[in-house]
Symmetry: D3
Subunit: 239 residues, 6 copies
């Protein structure tokens, strides 16, 4: 089994680190391939970034989907996941959706600790889209941009833990979801300091992908997800 | 006042027709400018199409937003509306959102008559995103692709009316929304055959845009809508 | 086009002020006529007040609806709006409903700043009725009765701004709705002190009314709204 | 204990019949007083009717509330119930609210069988207001106006039973609520022909009123329900 | 009329006290019989306790249901109420459900004051099950275990009142529900110190039971509630 | 890794069949142990059955939880799952919850095909408890009791397929969940005849259990899930 992980940003700096991390998470028989973009944003923090990541995410998936068993778009915004399901019969998963669905089994309410202070509205929108808004206790941003998360890891961990404690005590969260796949390397430290379950979305999504493959499950095309006409698209010759 | 209407598809065949139609809808002092895309899909029927329309929609808006008072993205999928709000302080409106919000004042429940038989899931998702799912009676597709809507207008009108009657009688709709801006030219005929209000989304959106401009209202950036860093985007030199 | 604005209170002190204000908001070709009640409350702050305003609101609308294009009941309680839709085919709009529907296009959540400290329950009930409760961040009362709003405008503005800041910072509001049409003259001052959009409901409702008229849209009678039998009403000879 | 039942219509033809029926429902120590209106509609079928019933309902309650222990407004539209709670500290109950609340204990979903074919929207609105829309299976009208319900009782019973069977089989109802207090005399016949529980709203409301009195429970004024200023009301000298 | 009250705990210490209290609540013609368990928990504070109470609750009900008119399971967890409805055609009521349904008539939102600090999640789950979550303002635990509630009544009352004030002022509650039937003897004291209605669930449930009996209402078996095959149960020879 | 699968029924006839089936689903390094009950129902079809299964499910889990990595209660009613989470720190999963959470990634709406015609209310209650009711298209029963599912497999498969087609065509389901773990052996046949994804809950739950173990995730005790006092339970000496 091979799982394609699309890092929906331009740049190779995380490719090998993410591959090694996720390879350590999957079963022995599973291979993880991590691919970045050549056109798109350097990080995804806005709807605008997301819109410019989508075409190249879809290009990568079109190129690779024949060789893999499942596809993960490795960003908590779940960018282009719906569109990707229209061009492949392999399962396509996004970290926000899988994390929130797994959180259902761990406690009554979950909170998401995000990077930017303004993420509450976006995370709530994701929960609403999933149909899970009643299970969302809160979304709290720690005000550290994606590209600075790993600059001072101890400080970032401390900010995450502080926000998580607020979520638990003030908002009644029983589960914490790290709201950025760039927090993966910090998860172990965060877990040591909290006594509620902490979901790291990248690893969680890869494990759900493996489970779906082994169960033989994938989405159906014909209703929410159609099969697009590629020749209707003009001007994307780099695709 | 000038309203920019972005037709989020490649091709000029509708530009003048849409301009003339919408110019007839606005107040005497308002000018309508309709602009199509140079890169993107020929029509929007899938998430994949939508993903490939977004970058060029945003390019057009960046180029034009300084000269206009409000912006309409003229497709019922409301493509790139959230992202567009991040790059301008002018009001940005999508036809699905404005039509559904206006329908609230016309009856207890509305139905959307769409082009494809599979649209129920997508329209329901739009209503959920707006927070209006309880007001949606149903979404019914008539199985006529966008590019064929005007081939046999009488037949298309008949299909719309038949679906609308089902919505009214079976689903309790008191308002009908035409679920594609390509149905604009057919709205007058449809209205003659139904005794419930029929919302034509393109005209409705332009009028709501005018109202917002005159009321001095536009979205705020800093929470749901941030200001993106343009220099973080790589490889879109055609933008 | 002529829009009938019913001030659902007894007394003429606001008639001319409101007319001048709203005449300044509409398009050149639109005339605004403001009419008060001869029987009813001096202001609407309770359900009891509202119940005693309704018959005379409906009398005014019956008398005038033939001569006008649309009707606005100018009070944030939206009094008698449903009943009015049963006696006319002209659009009938209430300020709470129109303001909340317009707020959908300006940000993820809106808050309403009302006059009395106890309004949260009533505003939430209005949002629930519209089907929009998920978009309501909060309702906050400033504890200034209707008839005292304009006594010390600077103080009222300050109270509104303070409540709005709480709504934005504590409750996540991205849009502020002034929850009383008597706050219209204060809106400009409030806007200067806030950087989120501020919806003044009276002006907003009149503009939505104009848009509906120009779009040829009005509610249908036969389902939610029936046509009452006037001769079934006994003892209202003053009607 | 004395319970005031306000028949919110003009005319005495039901007063004694209702009194005898409800006196047979209450406990030995409870007295039922039924009072009609002198100004208002002959029956309530529209929002317009309801608006013209409210002032005289409130007049009766103001006159009588000192002498009674609880108040029932005897119409499924629950007219003026909120306003009535502002002028008395005695419990005030409406038949739709009490019937729906009691239905919660009898099965997963309830349906309401109403008089007019168009009632679905109104009953759904009542359920939404109560916060119970998820428990409502359907509302079905039988197309017999209030004043004709008792003309051919066997035919009315048959129509109610037919609609109830549809509610049970098609919509999954496990409880039937008769959606008009004018159906009280028919309830026994309806029950014989159905094997799901049938709630007759007038009797149910009087029993809930008795229970509230014996439990010493009534609403609080100061938040949803304020105390109105009676001298703010102009022109209702007949009140 | 005889009402069976099952105290779903092992031990007789409350039987006579509860019987005397509830006998004082019912009508003269009603007899209250209180029965405890012989197998089960000494108090119900966890799902585990509840699971071990259920078989003996059902045994008691099977033994007694022929002789009584209605059944109350006297614990705010409403343990085994659904299962009990499968083995009798007499009404079966749980205190949480009846209290929440009665609260609907007393104010816009209710809060539940529970025994343990962790009850918010469980009470919210109960409200969700009833379909009433929108009416729940909050659930607050006072951190006094069931078996210690009556040790220092004045202190317990003070803790309940303090929590209730928080519910009213911070969360907007207009009705307080005591979230444990063991608080019954304290209700009178609590009421003296609060000016919002306070629902004591045991008394409320018994009164609703009486009302259902007098109205001839009980649940139907065949859909949510089936009739179990007793001979399919193995090993419960003590039943 | 060892996963404990509790078959919550008395009798050994499925133990080996289930073990072999689930052992074929897990990863090479995982062992599946299947344990039945000694006291309880022969099958679970009612709330009454469920109540009599719970104590022995909990006994088995207390006895075994020290030796295993995760626990699955192998019945679509998810019996005793909440209580089980109070007595172990190992993940405890129920098939309905896991199936519904996995369905979120496969299409907009799912339907559940159950054994009995009356299951709609119960399945909807499960979806409501999870917070997923908006994603449930329908629940349809095929009227074949658990103990007869495998008597005529071809006929059962046909009934499931017929119900699934109704769910897809009439109710808009894009995913089918088999609503009984006793349908596991039929899943392959059902899948051949449907072109939407079919979730077999037993296998799905075991795979989610494996994923949780590998991710190091389990619920927290202290809020929804407490730690019960075992010595408070009286009379269950067989435990």
């Amino acid at each position: 089994m091979k799982i394609l992980v699309v890092n929906p940003v331009v740049g190779d700096q995380w490719t090998e680190q993410d591959r090694a991390y996720l390879q350590g998470v999957v079963d022995p028989g599973t291979e993880v391939e991590v691919v970045g973009l050549t056109k798109g944003p350097r990080s995804i923090e806005t709807f605008y970034d997301e819109a410019h990541a989508a075409p190249d995410i879809l290009r990568v998936i079109r190129e690779k989907e024949g060789e893999v068993s499942a596809i993960v778009v490795n960003c908590f915004a779940d960018p282009a996941v719906d569109a990707a399901r229209e061009i492949t019969d392999k399962p396509v998963l996004g970290p926000a959706s899988t994390s929130m669905s797994i959180a259902l089994h761990l406690g009554a309410k979950f909170s998401v600790i995000s990077i930017l202070p303004n993420t509450a509205a976006c995370v709530e929108q994701q929960a609403v889209k999933l149909g899970l808004e009643r299970r969302l206790a809160s979304a709290i941003g720690i005000d550290v941009p994606v590209l600075e998360l790993e600059k001072d890891p101890a400080k970032t961990v401390e900010a995450i833990v502080r926000a998580a404690c607020t979520a638990v005590e003030r908002d009644g969260a029983e589960v914490i979801i790290l709201g950025c796949t760039g927090m993966a390397t910090l998860a172990a430290e965060v877990r040591k300091k909290l006594d509620v379950p902490v979901i790291e979305p990248a690893a969680t999504t890869v494990k759900v992908a493996e489970a779906l493959v082994k169960l033989g499950l994938h989405h159906h095309r014909g209703r929410s997800y159609l099969s697009p006409s590629f020749d209707k698209i003009v001007g994307y010759d780099w695709l």
